[in-house]
């Protein structure tokens, strides 16, 4: 089960839930699972960057997940 962490400013989408465990082989499946759990969350979460096991992905859609992966949703980074 991948551990998923939601940042504080998005807790309104999850009814206050900060951490959940989700069975998913990849990020796409993870988003589908989260949509089932929190129907309002997908648009916002889909636009977030995500850090999977320490590596930051601006677009993680295709990334694979391990059973013990840690996924942190975070605001997308912009730069100068």
């Amino acid at each position: 089960m991948a551990k998923v962490v939601i940042p504080d400013h998005l807790l309104t989408l999850t009814g206050g839930e900060r951490e959940v465990e989700v069975a998913a082989k990849n990020f796409r499946e993870l988003l589908i699972a989260l949509e089932a759990r929190w129907p309002d969350s997908t648009v916002v979460l889909g636009k977030c960057a995500a850090a999977i096991d320490g590596q930051i992905y601006q677009d993680a859609f295709l990334e694979g997940l391990n059973p013990d992966s840690e996924v942190f949703f975070m605001q997308r980074i912009e730069g100068g």
Partner: protein, 752 residues
């Protein structure tokens, strides 16, 4: 640390391929495009910081001989809400209304109308003939006024985002965000020492020397060609298509050479106006901003108000920290409060923290990205507080940072655990640097501080063509803002095993190469470099196939070594190695021209840390601060072209020093910027600065084929606190607000 790898050309600093054109005046920048029949566009700008537009009458201007077109907000498609997309993000309607005001003007200098005429002088005269009727409103000019309960609203439809409950009343606070971990109260209870500080920094401008400029030509079929200085012509094309409701396929954007950007040229201003004016006049229209327009209506970065509180044990271990970070967004939402919040504590291990950040509307120009957007302001607060903490603890400031430094496996405040990072390596290098070990000059003070930036990847495309004689043409889509063509040539040469001189890189327009995001976010050498390397690997695979066909062996019996195809070890073939030139010469017989391609969304950008050191002297009679010496130490991952990496570090340091010492937007009570020129908005000149020493640390980023992290943004983060801490050391005074202009320093000295 990873083993150093021996590269043949990477890590050398050859002359850039576009260099001769740039030292002879041949290179064409944004304002250098002249076309037959071309006319000139100018913009009418609001004299009010906040007003309702009652009417705009263009008729008198249009009646003037030699005036060919005029437009106002009514000539644009209705501004639709939607995602801009691209690197910076934001709302399309806001972008559209910033380009041309519709019902309201929201800052002094906001575009209200535009004309195109035979000459610039005539266009300026025509602007005076435009009648605009305004209903002035009270301007909201600072964070406190904007956040006051009864504040005048910039946007009656702005409801604060990310609050636990949807607010029932609109506000100038466009959004808030929070980051938290652990138990802050318990952490402070554990602390032996607690320091607090409150810091204000006014708006500052990117200050690129080339004003925004473009030339647009729209044909009678509705197809537009736009030449402009931009950090990303593909993103400009996308934005223009959304703002003008035009088909992307009818828009061709050609990036000129670019005279600096630092984030400020990721934003569209003039181009849609030039397109509309060209449509209406059936002539090419050139538009250039004056320096005054650049200051009043483009760029700046947020003014901020930051509060920070940090607790530590006697041994320096941090126990808790809190931060409250308010960022001015300018006229439309979108201040860089998110990255500011995520970066403030990033260099340190912290189990207990709470960060709150706010994106606040004020009647000032809409902020744009500026080098590590948001981080210099927030990290200035933390790095000043740590300096004070080190003093209270009697600890060396580098030792204090080392004691708490993030390393591989440390959980970053923004969530994930860091992969391999170079912060400790930077701190070690700083501690041992001759600048830090030598005595501080008599009467001077020494400051240190850390910097951090995430860096990004994003989308890039590259093609690699092998010419008939085996030379190489790389085509990619990122405007070369500081020597990136040279870096691409180096990476291509290294991968293919040819010399640097055999490779040339060109920047394709939107019709001649694949999509690339902006040159920004320190992404070009990392992400576009990755695409170039992959396109070269595509070439190598094709060359091996062609060598195999030539020799009549299997493809897996061929290897690529030092720029030539050779039989794999153990393969019994009596053949001579085939160089790239050999294979190119024979290409017609083996399948036609060699073209390698790659397109990708580069993931795994590596965070880059820095530590800077400065010695300053403060003139007690005038309050003037002189920087005696400055050293920038930064983890580049791998420096592809070290001279240009040093250049990024030196240039970022100079910008940060300017921000710390002099640069600020000064507004009067009507919201009019009073120093909209380089005489009064004083960026550093050569005589203001010492040589800027650099030390490049190389902790390779495992996600890039050559270990690149990206280097452009981190350099501006540390200098603000470095200077503040050095002034603290020189004077014994903690001056909380920037810039340290002589009057402010003198006042602090007098009050002490």
């Amino acid at each position: 640390m990873a083993e150093a790898v021996d590269y043949k050309v990477i890590g050398t600093s050859p002359v850039r391929p576009d260099g001769v054109d740039k030292v002879t005046g041949r290179a064409q920048y944004g304002a250098d495009m002249n076309l037959p029949n071309m006319i000139y566009g100018k913009v009418l700008r609001s004299p009010h910081a906040h007003a309702r537009i009652k009417s705009v009458d263009l008729s008198k201007a249009l009646a003037m001989p030699g005036v060919y077109a005029a437009v106002s907000g009514a000539d644009f498609p209705q501004a639709q809400h939607g995602e801009i997309g691209g690197e910076g993000g934001g709302d399309v309607a806001d972008l559209a209304k910033n380009i041309m005001a519709r019902d309201k003007v929201l800052y002094h200098g906001h575009a209200v109308a535009a004309v195109a005429a035979r000459s610039v002088q005539l266009a300026e005269a025509a602007l005076e003939a435009i009648d605009v009727s305004y209903e002035p409103l009270p301007p909201v000019l600072d964070l406190d006024a904007a956040m006051a309960v009864d504040a005048t609203l910039l946007d009656e439809n702005c409801f604060t985002k990310n609050l636990p409950e949807k607010p029932d009343k609109p506000s100038n606070i466009a959004a808030v965000m929070q980051l938290a971990r652990g138990d802050v109260e318990a952490g402070f209870a554990d602390a032996d020492v607690i320091v607090e500080g409150e810091y204000r920094i006014p708006m500052a401008h990117q200050g690129y020397i080339e004003p925004h400029a473009c030339t647009a030509s729209v044909n009678e079929g509705g197809q537009a060609t736009v030449w402009c200085c931009t950090q990303g012509h593909f993103e400009f094309r996308a934005m223009a298509s959304k703002v003008l409701n035009m088909n992307i396929a009818d828009l061709k954007f050609i990036a000129s050479e670019i005279g600096g950007g630092f984030g400020g040229k990721t934003v569209l201003y003039l181009e849609p106006l030039a397109i509309l004016l060209s449509q209406k006049s059936h002539r090419p229209v050139k538009m250039t901003m004056t320096r005054e327009e650049v200051f009043r209506a483009t760029g700046p970065t947020s003014g901020t108000h930051c509060k920070v509180k940090v607790g530590a044990k006697k041994d320096g271990t941090l126990t808790a920290a809190t931060a409250w970070l308010a960022y001015e967004a300018g006229a439309f939402a979108g201040a860089p409060m998110g990255p500011g919040a995520m970066s403030i504590f990033a260099p340190y291990r912290l189990d207990n923290f709470h960060i709150e950040a706010l994106d606040v509307l004020v009647n000032k120009p809409k902020v744009a990205a500026y080098r590590a957007p948001g981080a210099p302001q927030s990290m200035h607060a933390m790095e000043c507080a740590l300096d004070d903490l080190a003093r209270e603890l009697g600890m060396d400031p580098i030792d204090l940072r080392m004691k708490n430094a993030a390393e591989e496996g440390t959980q970053a405040p923004y969530g994930p655990k860091f992969p391999a990072i170079g912060f400790k390596a930077c701190l070690e290098a700083a501690k041992q640097h001759p600048h830090y070990t030598r005595p501080i000059p008599e009467g001077a003070g020494r400051g240190v501080a850390a910097g951090f930036w995430f860096n990004v990847g994003m989308q890039s495309s590259a093609e690699v063509h092998i010419n008939e004689n085996g030379t190489v043409t790389v085509v990619e889509g990122n405007p070369d803002i500081g020597g990136s063509r040279a870096s691409m040539c180096l990476m291509a040469a290294e991968t293919l095993g040819v010399t640097y001189e055999q490779v040339r890189t060109l920047i394709g327009d939107t019709e001649s190469t694949g999509f690339s995001n902006v040159t920004g976010g320190s992404r070009t050498t990392f992400a576009t470099g990755m695409a170039v390397v992959q396109a070269c690997e595509d070439i190598i695979a094709q060359c091996k196939a062609r060598a195999a066909a030539t020799w009549g062996v299997d493809e897996d019996q061929v290897e690529w070594e030092d720029g030539q195809a050779v039989p794999a070890p153990g393969v019994n073939a009596d053949v001579k190695p085939l160089s790239l030139a050999d294979i190119a010469a024979n290409a017609a017989r083996t399948g036609g021209p060699l073209l390698g391609r790659a397109s990708l969304n580069a993931q795994g950008a590596g965070a880059s840390f820095a530590v800077n050191i400065a010695d300053v002297k403060v003139d007690r009679d005038t309050g003037k601060v002189d920087v005696l010496s400055y050293t920038a130490i930064q983890d580049a991952g791998k420096a592809i072209h070290p001279a240009y990496v040093e250049g990024q570090m030196q240039g970022g340091a100079a910008q940060g020093i300017g921000w710390a010492l002099n640069e600020e937007y000064i507004f009067n009570t009507d919201g009019v910027m009073e120093n909209a020129g380089f005489l009064d908005y004083r960026i550093p000149v050569a005589s203001d600065l010492p040589m800027i020493d650099t030390q490049i640390i190389e902790v390779p980023n495992p996600s890039h084929p050559y270990g690149v992290r990206g280097v452009g943004e981190t350099p501006i983060v540390a200098p603000l606190a470095v200077i503040a801490n050095a002034v603290r050391a020189a004077t014994g005074l903690r001056i909380n607000d920037l810039p340290f202009s002589p009057p402010r320093v003198l006042e602090a000295l007098d009050n002490a």
